[in-house]
Symmetry: C2
Subunit: 259 residues, 2 copies
């Protein structure tokens, strides 16, 4: 990793893999701001959450996909990519910014928990790097990211200018389509997936199951990411990795745990 | 899933797999409280975080390991196990309690993020089931869980009596050794892993990397789970899956996102 003195070092990661159009668009959007280094999974890693690889070793190799871009593919999860980047490529010298995505598919609301994109950004934040995950409401390989680019630049510029409060990161989601109303700061909507399993039989008559589900929004608030996206805004949710439910501590202290 | 009318239905999961001593101890501890159904991975799934299986199908099969215990092994992640249990075994009728573990290894502090044990419990909570994850500071297959059992029973009894506040779950960690001082309600310590990668060469001369790391506690508070465990207490941290950093919303609203 070579650094030009005055320019920020920017780590780019994703969970859709090195060849995803989303990461190409993210690289294009952020490269004017600094020295870009890309470390991404060598294949799709959607839905990996905050998984890390501990039962087997990791590989990573330089790849040459885009002119002038230092890029590596890694056999592990999105979180592994961040750990490898910080330790083996930046060699412990923290990058100035970590951006993840642009994911093919929304990571709003409860999806933040399952998302490899957001977990990679969260790992960046745990490392003390200002970190942002970006996601678009379009799973297609032919997804059009062009309307996202100016918002990515605005958000990156603000984060490089201000930094981010300690132990927090940003979760940015884009609706499909060109006529966006602007950026809205939101909270995570109270929504969940009502899962369904599609049962099939293999050629030997044994059942197997495909996980699917229906997204259920139980939150009527107009300050949520779900509301913002449905109403044509880019949603920005500040996220934290202190999972303590601080408001519950006094409740538990009133229970009888010790005789 | 058959239910005796008056007894609670209890879902038992873990991330170390169906054959782990930890899950056997958890089954033994909770079976007096209700009808136990076990759904666990068919092999180790430590460090899987909140991963779900979306690129390939799942299998699950009945196993007969312990007399009188309804038990299934699943080819997926700990979170998949919970989803499959709720949808295919309980058939949408929510269990009254979900317990996960007892994990071989601590899931205190930032480990809650990487932990399959805690992610399974969190998935239970997302489903609206009162859920608790249990972990012991001992990775060994020969780990002694006997000192944990009375505390598991106390906590399960309290949770069955009181329920848990909406959208929260409990993260319970046990120190090694018999002379515990009791249960302490805590917050998640501000700690992280400083990762290291052990580089080796394969027989063809190509490098590969084993993830390892050193746990770094940067939190001097005496109200943390790390402090409690170091001082001989069972730590209980209430956990939430609303990751919104609510305190950051007003800060972001002062930035210039829209011209």
């Amino acid at each position: 990793m070579k650094k030009e003195q005055s320019r920020p070092n920017i780590l780019v990661v994703n969970d859709d893999g090195v060849t995803a159009p989303g990461i190409r668009n993210l690289i294009e959007a952020v490269k004017e701001f600094g020295n870009v280094v890309v470390v991404a999974p060598d294949g799709p890693q959607s839905g990996m959450g905050h998984a890390i690889t501990i039962g087997k070793p990791l590989r990573f190799d330089r790849v040459h996909l885009y002119e002038g871009v230092e890029m590596y593919k890694c056999s592990g999860t999105p979180v592994d990519c961040v750990k490898l980047a910080v330790n083996r490529i930046f060699k412990g010298k923290k990058p100035d910014l970590c951006v993840s995505g642009i994911n093919h598919g929304l990571n709003n609301s409860i999806n933040v928990i399952y998302s490899g994109t957001m977990s990679a950004a969260m790992e960046g934040a745990i490392e003390g790097i200002p970190s942002v995950g970006f996601s678009l409401d379009d799973f297609s390989e032919e997804a059009d990211f062009s309307h996202c680019i100016k918002f990515v630049k605005t958000i990156v510029r603000q984060v490089l200018d201000h930094g981010l409060p300690q132990a927090t990161l940003l979760n940015v989601n884009f609706p499909k389509g060109a006529d966006l109303k602007g950026i809205k700061i939101c909270r995570q909507a109270n929504a969940k997936w009502a899962e369904e399993f599609d049962e099939r039989k293999d050629p030997y008559g044994r059942p197997y199951y495909w996980l699917s589900g229906v997204f259920q929004n139980n939150d009527k608030g107009e300050d949520t990411d779900v509301w913002a996206l449905e109403n044509g805004f880019v949603s920005v949710v500040p996220v934290q990795f202190d999972l303590t439910a601080h408001h519950v501590i006094p409740i538990l202290n009133s229970w009888t745990f010790n005789d």
